[in-house]
Symmetry: D2
Subunit: 217 residues, 4 copies
């Protein structure tokens, strides 16, 4: 639903009512990548872009979207990295990137596309809020280095970054954060667990909340 | 000048007028670590805490304060890391940490104190804005790893982080950011240059501006 | 059993026969930190130094020693970081460091001691082989950053570094490595599992084997 | 000069005599990527693979080759990353990778090719010795993160890594190392300076010397 495409008035109303009712996640990248601009004027817009080969990172990406949906007035767009458009990037108040770990770093094919975004597409990322997530095997297999690398990419592009928030549920009052979210998906621990999905949701929620603060500030 | 200490009315007025006139940097940690709470209600408060053995990092820290002072309504407090109090940390809307590079990382003595801040002092850093700077010798001597380490410390403590902003002055329209600021102070390039001080000022300015956004958001 | 202490001839023989029979791990730092120099002339000597508060990292350190013991002619010394002596560091052909994760990095108290080793003790680490391990909670809690930080410390001190080796046991022929070993010991996954201990053993074995190569090369 | 290509006997002799006289660097990747296998049996073989757009990283790569040439019995092959063959990778006892910094990391196009090397080409990198270099602008622009990322790639592929060695020439007896070599090539400091070229040469020399130790060990 880009501004350049004509569309009937009732669709706008539908989008508007959805925005009022809660956040929107649109996973089909071909159809309508983000809500009508008029309707979303006050909302915070979060792009979740990911790389996934086996489906694990996609599951985490969906968890991130669920977290964004917890925040009233937040709209999410979920896209594979190679389907992200200039418009998606400009539209976004916040960008959350996620990928599997290839040799302790971002997959080269995804990084090549990210290099395009910043360099050849001329996107201005200033003050957009960023978050990162990763999947990968091994306790020291590089998931963290992927998250750090995604955050450094964002900081080098003038973004503001943060991670998910935690609190101890055993009544100790302990609180902490993490630089991003991840799922161990290698031989030690296959698939995406509930706790790992919870980490993805926390990331989406934190970034959406923070983006609202920064946008209205 | 903590709230718990009695002080004459005219001092309050002085602080108030200084706040109205511009930001305040107070380097003497013993005397008045931060402005009166009443005067600063609307201001954004930035703590700059640093480690310096030879004076290079201190120069960078002073550059950071100069950058904060460019932002109307921003108040800076400059302190050596081992003189930072609980009150300083609670008071701060933003915290900028800087240190020399010891074997590619934060000096152990400073990290030990930082461990105390988060663990034993029970400071809640949630949504405070953070920035980092470093000094060190060598092109791959660890200055970057120090900056990344300081940012990961902040993210692990629920902070929001960002770095200095740059633009190409040659009219290309190029803009970029960096994860933090640093000065090369080793055998290849002694001392703190004007360009490095400029990086420190840009860091202070960005963090102060961002802290205003986050605080009022 | 430092050279400066007189000791009876039969003790020497005991140590010699132990050396011939297999590697030696001596955990009591006060008594005999490393085998007699005469006996170990051809052996490779590995120091395992660690920080442990709750015992998890100590368990991993013991796993590392078990891995060293798999290598014929390798002698291990296991010590808490604050009990390591100049002699231990000079004696070692290889050094494996491990610690818990404090705010995504090495505990400050341990880093402060490590700063002493390199700076004030004047140890020459050139071509000593190094490896690293960590414990910590969370998928992005900083275990990897600790491992990377320990390796960068070693590289900044002229060491050569490597990590544990793995191979796919399902017959795919897949092989890979990791930069170090770690155990997740936080709320998601308490304690040190068998697979994590296995990672520690692999680290010890790899570093001992590699140290033999470098020493005899 | 691969074994599969027929070539006149006098060329073999030339290569042999060059090998005996000192190391060989062959920059033309199309012609003869590495010396005849018979001649190099005892030599240590170092592949230097790089990405360069403006020529700065290529200059550094040539400096690395000069450093390798200081080591008797070391043979270097210099290639752009996208011209490296399976044979080059298998042939190498050591691999030194270098590239410019794109948004604080390895250029995506180069990482994509590196992903192929390890994954689809099935190269066994075990115990090959690795080193890394980078170019880039800014004091915190990501050169270090590139070097660390290249080293983590190598460690994840079972390699052994090290960096250049330094000593204080002012008679203090001070010695140190760095995780890799780099040149600042951005707005603060254009081009590759003599000191930066020296860092490249030190990297080549260290890696070649270490590869000899590991190979003969």
């Amino acid at each position: 639903m880009r501004p350049t495409r004509p569309r009937p008035w009732f669709l706008s109303l539908t989008v508007l009512s959805l925005c009022l009712a809660g956040p929107i996640a649109i996973a089909d990248p071909g159809a309508k990548p983000h809500p009508a601009k008029s309707a979303e004027a006050q909302a915070v817009r979060v792009l979740v872009a990911y790389h996934s080969r086996t489906g694990n990172t996609e599951k985490m990406a969906q968890g991130v979207v669920e977290g964004i949906e917890r925040v009233p007035g937040a709209a999410a767009v979920l896209k594979k990295f190679d389907q992200v458009t200039k418009e998606d990037l400009r539209w976004a108040d916040a960008i959350i990137l996620g990928c599997p770990t290839y040799y302790a770093n971002i997959p080269g094919t995804m990084k090549a596309v990210m290099d395009e975004w910043a360099w050849h597409w001329g996107i201005d990322f200033t003050d957009k809020v960023g978050g990162a997530f990763a999947t990968g095997g091994g306790q020291v297999g590089g998931k963290e280095h992927v998250v750090t690398s995604l955050l450094l990419y964002m900081l080098s592009n003038r973004m503001v970054v943060a991670g998910p928030l935690y609190e101890d549920t055993r009544g100790t009052g302990g609180i902490w954060g993490e630089p991003g979210s991840a799922a161990m998906t290698g031989p030690l621990d296959l698939g995406v667990s509930d706790k790992e999905l919870d980490a993805a949701r926390r990331l989406g929620e934190r970034i959406a909340r923070l983006a609202k603060k920064v946008k209205s500030g």
